[in-house]
């Protein structure tokens, strides 16, 4: 063993954001007056002092090589006094103070990075994505690839602001769903109880795995005289919580896992407040490298939404107004018994009135 090096300081905490703020941000901090959309992908923020900050938004791939990040830095050095920002949806925001530099900047973003400018206002934002096969230990499908394939199909709605409202899209590659709630979400769906690898049952702490099951379907068992676990199959709802705790509880299945699409999630407190997304359709094949069936279904929803929604209506609000019956009609998805909730608050989702659309 090499001799012990001195340990670096611990508990540095959160980097000092003040050092990173663009000078115009620092100068007008908390003193902004209004903003205006200049063109798709570019907002102008006007401060009380009269200063104008142009924020140019470009969709990144989130997973980037250091060389790509350096190219981003080169552009920010040239046009943004060496400052830039990332958004919660992995967009880049270039901070420009001179209006005439916006177009040259956009050209460099297009030419040198291959990134597109957009994602502001009533457009689809960059898709929130998880780790997938690139780097998670739990996924049944990929994330970065699925996002790339889908953005290829949807990108016209990223670079233009022509939707009734914002549309946020997310993906999740296992049923833990670490991707976000969204107006449209594409999530993996498991279809049978975990298959237990009894030979590998040694590293896990059994009581923890038993305790994690939300429906108490896991219990200790003996197999060939060895301690192991078993799953009560009728109780199990294939949620995969146990798999996250213990790799020997294999929930994934390359042959049977499918994808489901959820709609109507919203975080903002605007109008009716935040809402969760609901099941729109399911059973789409997990079909790499381009998942065309998923893109088709998402397009179908977007087209119906564009057609039918009023201005300012998010997808969930549009559906609430026209009703789910009509949603299934206009999208062509079939409503089945699997759309009816069976979990904890199922009854609160039933229609307990005579209010029906006939």
């Amino acid at each position: 063993m090499a001799e012990k090096k001195k340990m670096a300081p611990r508990d540095n905490g959160s980097p000092d954001y003040k050092k990173f703020l663009h000078p115009m941000m620092a100068k007008n901090y908390g003193k902004w007056k209004y903003h205006e959309n200049i063109r798709s992908g570019v907002n102008m923020y006007v401060a009380e002092s009269g200063d104008r900050l142009y924020v140019v938004r470009a969709g990144s791939t989130r997973t980037m090589s250091v060389d790509t990040v350096r190219k981003v830095c080169d552009i920010a050095d040239k046009y943004c006094q060496g400052h830039l920002r990332f958004t919660s949806r992995s967009n880049l925001e270039f901070l420009v103070t001179k209006k005439e530099e916006i177009e040259p900047l956009i050209k460099e973003v297009n030419d040198k990075l291959g990134f597109h400018v957009g994602g502001t206002g009533h457009s689809i934002s960059n898709i929130l994505h998880t780790q997938g096969w690139l780097h998670c230990n739990l996924p049944g499908t990929d994330a970065a690839g699925a996002v790339k394939a889908m953005m290829d199909v949807l990108y016209e709605d990223f670079i233009n602001e022509r939707l009734p409202q914002r549309v946020k899209i997310s993906t999740s590659c296992c049923q833990i769903n670490c991707g976000g709630q969204a107006d449209i979400a594409i999530n993996l769906q498991h279809h049978h109880p975990p298959k237990i690898n009894h030979d590998n049952m040694k590293i896990c702490e059994h009581p923890k795995v038993v305790a994690i099951c939300p429906v108490a379907a896991i219990r200790p068992a003996k197999k060939d005289g060895k301690d192991t676990l078993e799953v009560v199959e009728e109780k199990c709802m294939y949620c995969g919580a146990c798999h996250g705790q213990c790799p020997s509880m294999e929930i994934r299945d390359a042959n049977t896992d499918t994808l489901a699409i959820w709609v109507g999630g919203k975080s903002s407190n605007t109008r009716g407040g935040p809402s969760f997304m609901k099941l729109a359709t399911y059973g789409l094949p997990n079909n790499p490298p381009r998942w065309p069936e998923v893109s088709d279904a998402v397009k179908r929803i977007l087209n119906a939404y564009k057609e039918g929604a009023k201005e300012e209506e998010r997808i969930g609000e549009w559906i609430e107004r026209i009703g789910w019956k009509r949603f299934f009609e206009v999208t062509g998805f079939k409503f089945t018994k699997y759309h009816i909730d069976t979990y904890r608050y199922a009854r609160t989702t039933f229609n307990t009135s005579t209010q029906v659309r006939l």
């Binding site: 990134f115 096969w133 407190n269 490298p289």
Partner: protein
């Protein structure tokens, strides 16, 4: 024995076409100087072919810390030896995700020196992810990051890296300083971030106004969201301009009728707001943002208990503090005190792997409020309960059901001014 086998990746190659930028192309270029990336793409191609993942996960720790590194081992490491160990370091991001290029270049250099040279901006939690180093290099990279003033962390059963919206840095809607508060909470509770000691993870997310651009209600245990308690600021001149420009009908259709509490009226090209009934939803301000602005007496609403799907299904956070100021040092002290009380009660009584929202579900919000010493408030619920199965502590005859358990009293409650819901006779 340099078997520099060039990985064949026909399926991934298909992801190089199309208008959207391709991570595959980017990684292929990186592979020219980082052979490990070639193998990473090889493994990914195999995953695409088999629809099967090849990572095993565990944890490794750097001295003094109980989190911050996500360890990944390839289960086909014999085929792809350069990525047999391919760990991720979680680096705490600057509040608001604003960077100087110097800082980014520093991250690039450290990433290239010790890892495979992949960065992700950002992880689902909001942190910077540096991918692809082995056991040894991971620890070296962590040391260099900390040497340069960065910090790592946020995994396991502890506080996670915070995330916040851009707030006062360029958004006119911001009702409190999200960046300052994010840094303040991170630094104040840095030990809880580095040395996991809770039943399960705990996330804060901060949004400067109820638009909640940080998606905090759905994605964090404790959302802190800016708001105001006086009147919406109305600039009638701009209102008139807006109406002249867009037409009265537009304003009725897109503003007046969209107000959730119908508290806006339009008369003679003037807007009147019944602010007592405004629920601060932001809609009218968003649409007429030159004419309307949040009020001047600003503060935050604090919620608790949100999480994503695992186990009980998604839950949203719910209100525990309808309004508090967050300006002075004393205000911040109060916030710290509240967080500490929540953590103490939850850590003492929570079960393993129980998020604070699940814990509240189990013990009841009433008991929880008792436990942390907060007064119940009608704004905490949509409406009072609709069933009669109530256990009035004050009326339960102590001897019959055995001694009643004293309400868990982890903190000194402020009894002063407390209104009893049930007046005890005699």
């Amino acid at each position: 024995m340099s078997k520099k086998e060039e990985s064949k990746t026909p399926m991934l190659d298909e992801l190089e076409d199309g208008p959207w930028p391709s991570f595959v192309t980017d990684l292929k270029n990186l592979a020219k100087k980082k052979p490990a990336i070639g193998q990473l793409l090889g493994q990914l191609e195999q995953s695409y072919e088999e629809r099967w993942d090849h990572w095993l996960g565990t944890v490794i720790n750097t001295p003094g810390y109980g989190g911050g590194i996500i360890a990944r081992y390839s289960d086909i490491g014999n085929k792809f030896p350069d990525i047999a160990q391919f760990h991720t370091i979680r680096v705490i991001e600057p509040a608001g995700w604003v960077y100087s290029t110097d800082a980014l270049r520093q991250l690039c250099d450290i990433s290239e020196k010790y890892s495979a040279g992949i960065l992700q901006f950002h992880g689902m939690t909001g942190d910077i992810l540096m991918l692809g180093s082995n056991n040894e290099k991971t620890l070296e990279a962590a040391e260099e990051l900390m040497e340069k003033g960065w910090d790592i962390g946020g995994s396991g059963n502890g506080m996670r890296t915070l995330a916040c919206c851009i707030g006062p840095a360029y958004c006119e809607m911001a009702c409190f300083d999200t960046l300052k508060t994010t840094k303040f909470l991170t630094d104040t509770f840095i030990s809880q971030l580095h040395r996991p000691e809770f039943p399960y993870k705990f996330k804060f997310k901060l949004s400067g106004c109820p638009n909640d651009c940080a998606c905090s209600i759905q994605r964090s245990d404790m959302p802190i969201i800016g708001t105001w308690r006086d009147e919406i600021q109305v600039n009638q001149k701009e209102v008139k301009k807006f109406i002249d420009e867009k037409g009265e009908e537009y304003v009725v259709d897109n503003v007046i009728t969209r107000c959730p509490t119908k508290c806006i009226t339009l008369k003679n090209k003037k807007i009147e707001i019944d602010d007592k009934n405004c629920v601060k939803c932001m809609h009218c301000i968003n649409v007429m943002h030159k004419a309307l602005a949040p009020g001047k007496d600003r503060g935050v609403t604090i919620l608790l208990g949100g999480k994503r799907t695992l186990k009980i299904g998604d839950t949203m956070s719910s209100v525990i503090v309808p309004f508090m100021k967050l300006d002075t040092d004393e205000d911040y002290e109060k916030l710290i005190d509240l967080v500490r009380r929540i953590w103490e009660f939850w850590t003492e009584h929570g079960m393993d792997h129980e998020r604070v929202g699940e814990f509240i579900d189990r013990v009841g919000l009433g008991t929880f409020l008792d436990g942390i010493g907060l007064e119940p408030d009608p704004q905490m619920v949509r409406h009072p309960r609709t069933n009669p199965y109530i256990k009035f502590e004050e009326l339960a005859p102590p001897k019959i059901g055995g001694e009643p358990k004293a309400a868990p009293n982890v903190v000194d409650k402020e009894i002063e001014g407390r209104e009893m819901v049930v007046e005890m006779k005699k």
